[in-house]
Symmetry: D2
Subunit: 365 residues, 4 copies
């Protein structure tokens, strides 16, 4: 495909000033097929002031109007905007031939009513919902390959989906009670707008529980899980911010339809995602032995943010509380990469017919 030649792609990033927009620019700078990156910003603001880590990259902000003027020459447009903007602006870019990957929630619900129920506003482009594909690449790859419009999943949602899909797809989960999911996110997940509750002196050494009455990624999960299993699935979704800037550490506690031991379940996950990078490059099963050399219990046998932050990987581990019959899944991702910008590029790669791992092969620090 000629337009995918080395450094040939032209890409817009609507909403380039936040953490997700910045991370997308960083990853696109290292993408071998991307040649032009146009991030947008509203006000003046220099790029290097906003994203000091990208000093030297030569990137500069354009306005949305300037980007729209060039729409006809863009291959891909990413939206890193608050809910409600992409659904108004995506159509224009699609018409002019660009692929759109929306990192906001605007196209995550197939039904406009579901969107409105969760986000509290009428959907502006319900006609586009039908062609939007929910971008969990590992599970929707074929549909993404044919799509022009990808709805990138929420950072919590994709972590939960990758962690639970093997069990749900096999019908192993007892969905009689809500699936219990607890996720701790880095503070970058709360955005760049200064708030007292998110100042360093406030969060440092603490955890900040929020949205206990129900986080908006709960219904997003329920919608996807229903599509995956063909049955209604309730999710008890719990969120907080931890004392770290990046990463989602998620644990799901499930009752299975019948008992399976730890090794058996690890085997199931290996079959589903492949061992090493053989099948799914970005999803890795952590199956470290529970006992160390001296037959002592080991401390670090479950996945850990250290293994993924800075990368597009999702690490998954699990254990089983035999006494109470509860299976526990631990899944970790970088909320800004696999949870946002990395997945978005992975989806772009698939949609454009490129090698899915292009620009995304870095391991975690």
């Amino acid at each position: 495909m000629s337009r995918h030649d080395l450094k040939a792609l032209r890409v817009g990033v609507v909403g380039g000033t936040g953490y997700t927009g910045g991370e997308l620019c960083r990853l696109l700078l290292g993408h071998p097929a991307v040649g032009t990156i146009l991030p947008t910003a509203r006000g003046a603001g220099s790029f290097a002031t906003t994203h000091p880590n990208l000093l030297g990259s030569g990137l500069e902000f354009v306005t949305v109007d300037e980007l729209t003027e060039q729409a006809g020459e863009l291959d891909v447009v990413f939206f890193c905007t608050p809910s409600g903007q992409a659904m108004r602006a995506a159509g224009r870019f699609l018409e002019l031939g660009a692929h759109v990957v929306d990192l906001s929630a605007d196209f995550r619900f197939p039904s406009p009513d579901d969107y409105e129920a969760v986000y509290g506003k009428r959907h502006a482009s319900p006609e586009l919902l039908a062609e939007a594909v929910y971008g969990v690449t590992e599970l929707n790859r074929e549909r993404i390959r044919k799509s022009r419009l990808v709805a990138n999943p929420g950072c919590y949602a994709i972590t939960a989906i990758l962690g639970l899909a093997p069990l749900l797809a096999h019908g192993f989960v007892d969905a009689g009670a809500p699936l219990s999911i607890h996720a701790v996110n880095g503070t970058s997940g709360a955005g760049v707008t200064p708030k007292k509750a998110l100042m360093h002196a406030e969060v440092s050494n603490a955890m900040l529980a929020y949205s206990l009455e129900g986080h908006r990624h709960g219904p997003e999960l329920e919608t996807f899980f229903r599509a995956l299993t063909g049955e209604p699935v309730e999710v008890d979704f719990n969120t907080s911010h931890g004392n770290f800037a990046r990463g989602i550490h998620l644990q799901a506690n499930l009752r299975l339809t019948r008992e399976h031991g730890r090794d058996e379940l690890l085997g199931l996950y290996h079959d589903f995602y492949g061992a090493g990078h053989q099948k799914e490059h970005f999803v890795l099963v952590v199956d470290l032995p529970k006992l160390g050399e001296l037959n002592e219990k080991r401390y670090e046998i479950y996945p850990n943010l250290r293994g993924v932050v800075g990368s597009n990987f999702c690490h998954i581990g699990l254990d089983h509380d035999a006494r109470r019959g509860i299976t526990k899944i631990v899944a970790v991702t970088d909320n800004l990469i696999k949870g946002a910008a990395g997945s978005a590029i992975q989806n772009m790669n698939v949609a454009l017919g490129l090698d899915e791992t292009l620009g995304l092969r870095s391991y975690a620090l």
Copy 2:
């Protein structure tokens, strides 16, 4: 009571080199009724090297033998030792008239078999179990008042108990499924022995899930909850270490026997623990309004470690996910104070007939 005169009490701290032992010494130094503190250590080691925060206190380590020789003149002996030591040594101090507060697990189970099932060793002094009182001061005050031997609860356990007691005591909790409890502890909870998994460069920016197959405080909770409610209660207890040195941030998700709104439940907690310090000095209900001045959702309405670390307080808040019928309790404590040394002193105060808050009135930093 003459022996409780200002600075008259003589106190031993068996196991004075760890974080709990150090914290106990720190609090005892500020206790108006305590005059002599004798912490024990095995090797040489200077006190100020081990506990640099207590530089200037004049405290020095003695050996256990030296402490035992003075047993007849001790008013109280605290055990901050690994499981298995207090059950061998406590008897001697009790015989000579000292009160014993054991911060290890040795006297937490009324039945020696239950102890053995959880801790994997035969109990050495089963005859003492009958008179040991489980030291959740707020719920066992009268029994502690008459006891010579207090089994101080585990740090996780006491946080969970204080958080759930009002609902359990009123029979509001549907115990048909295990109670789901997730708790994140500071790294001081893992002790002072150097381990790679707990080095700063490893834990910083991560969370360390552990004991997913079942933490030992689970059975401790089940034992107490059964005593409290008169019925079997299963607990699904999940633990991890967070990127902070001190504190337990605990969340319990429950189904109630019938629906209660947030305000109604906050009222129940206020009735149970009192408002302000009126009834229970150390348990405070956080009932901040969910909306701020501009009718915006507020970010910090649930309890937070900032409110309790450095103090003997437990802060409790809650919310209700009406859509899924799940009530969520958030309880936070300082794992080394309310979760260990502070409770131990509170129990000492009660057992000796002193004002319960003596030496424990500091607010969190």
Copy 3:
């Protein structure tokens, strides 16, 4: 003195919403001679929302006007206000008989011109400067005892002064070149106003150097050092924020007028401040041996924030680079306690003739 009876003192805290005001309230709540605390705030705002750690204390905000109306019945008024406010309002409280301790910079310079040179505004009450005493309690105790108006030192300044005073007072320092001082402060030192640069996701894992062209505590130090030594002393003062909420870790590198070894200098500091709490209760010299049991170099022989955060102590250690003839002083304090609210109470205690350590005896966590 009858008015200093148990819980008899009435105290105002002008500017009670910031970190310093909150910390002052926290310490005053534990002060045995203080009975009434009146913190002021401008807007509505509940006290427990602003200072969740003081939940249950019963404190409530009043307006400055309400406080002023009660001025005649106040024993002490603390100002925790931005520069420029205390110099306008302090006079009124002094007239009505209250002592004033100003934690802002308004009364730190004896000369109104010096104040204007550093803070860029004309001094509003130059007539009060003559009676203001600079509140380094350890060095100005006798003057504070007789004063009505104490200018509490800056947090950086007091840490530097306590760290260097023994050498300066003995004329050991070669003042031919500026004294080189580097200090890292917690983020609470930057105040509560939300700023992007101080958000958790920004500061976490980094350091934030600032005011390299000259911090305002530099001239404050030069003024005091000149008064102490009788000679001009230049200070090269360097500041940054570290990845912690509280505490100042300060290092000064000096050339002495002649060589002194580590032990000799430690002896000098012991003589100056006393060993243990014998002479100066709140200043402790850390003189741990440099080699451990196995003759290995020890890692933690210099003072460390862990030893002081949460307390009114200043820990001081030192070393000597013999090859280059440079003496290095390390001094650590809690920026909100010894660096602000604790010193302010210490000064109040002295000015009112109370035991200087009242309400301040807690050791660091």
Copy 4:
């Protein structure tokens, strides 16, 4: 050069279990010219347990003996070993035709006596010192291009050198007094061996000053600066660990031979290193304006670890304290990348005639 074809290079990493060895493996995995990576370890130990971030990479440890057997087929051998090992083993690999990049201190001093003076042991291969090139790529590029043996600089040293070279090379620095350098390093810089002082609960929220009597990178700097300027240069070098896992935040305070303003000096640095990536790809000058849009002083105008951690970049900024005539340089690097593994690969690239930036182009997170 045929052997440098895509994925053709075979590389050994002696000492693959520490943080530096792991980081080297991580970067080599992303290097387009490297096909085989052989990290060594002493004991059993699985690679994924030691470096969970490299799960899925397929790397496995070999023993040093196994590596030595393959020496004839290796293109490059990196030493990530404690001081004293590379000087014994490097010769063998050189003889068999491999390039050697030593990340330890063994070949950093041209004179064996200087090595012995600093590291306390006799040099085992003094004959190799003559051909070893000190690997600050930016300043020694031509010599590295012709060398077989590169002595990779210490992490502190390279940060200081890049920060000061423009001034020193131009003879702007008044070397009459020791150059004052203060550097804060992440805890990964202290290695993986568990030590109590470096446990999370100890370092979190503190700083750990060490080696105040003189750090070993001081003489390393003095040796290089003397070579650079042709004159003796004394360095007052101060080190500590901060509450972060990675990165060096370094500040140097200098007196110049005559006064230069901030802008003038920034211009000098731009000339020396180039703007953007034009001249030196990995050294970037941060020249943000000191005032923001509303003419307010800006908080974040100096380099910050956020800008470099995870990358091979060094960011440099500066300011001038005109009142005291002191110029201040701030330089930041990732201690494990530009300070170790990244520089080592950069040197490998140069020595093998590859594009210097291969495998190193990632921006900071």
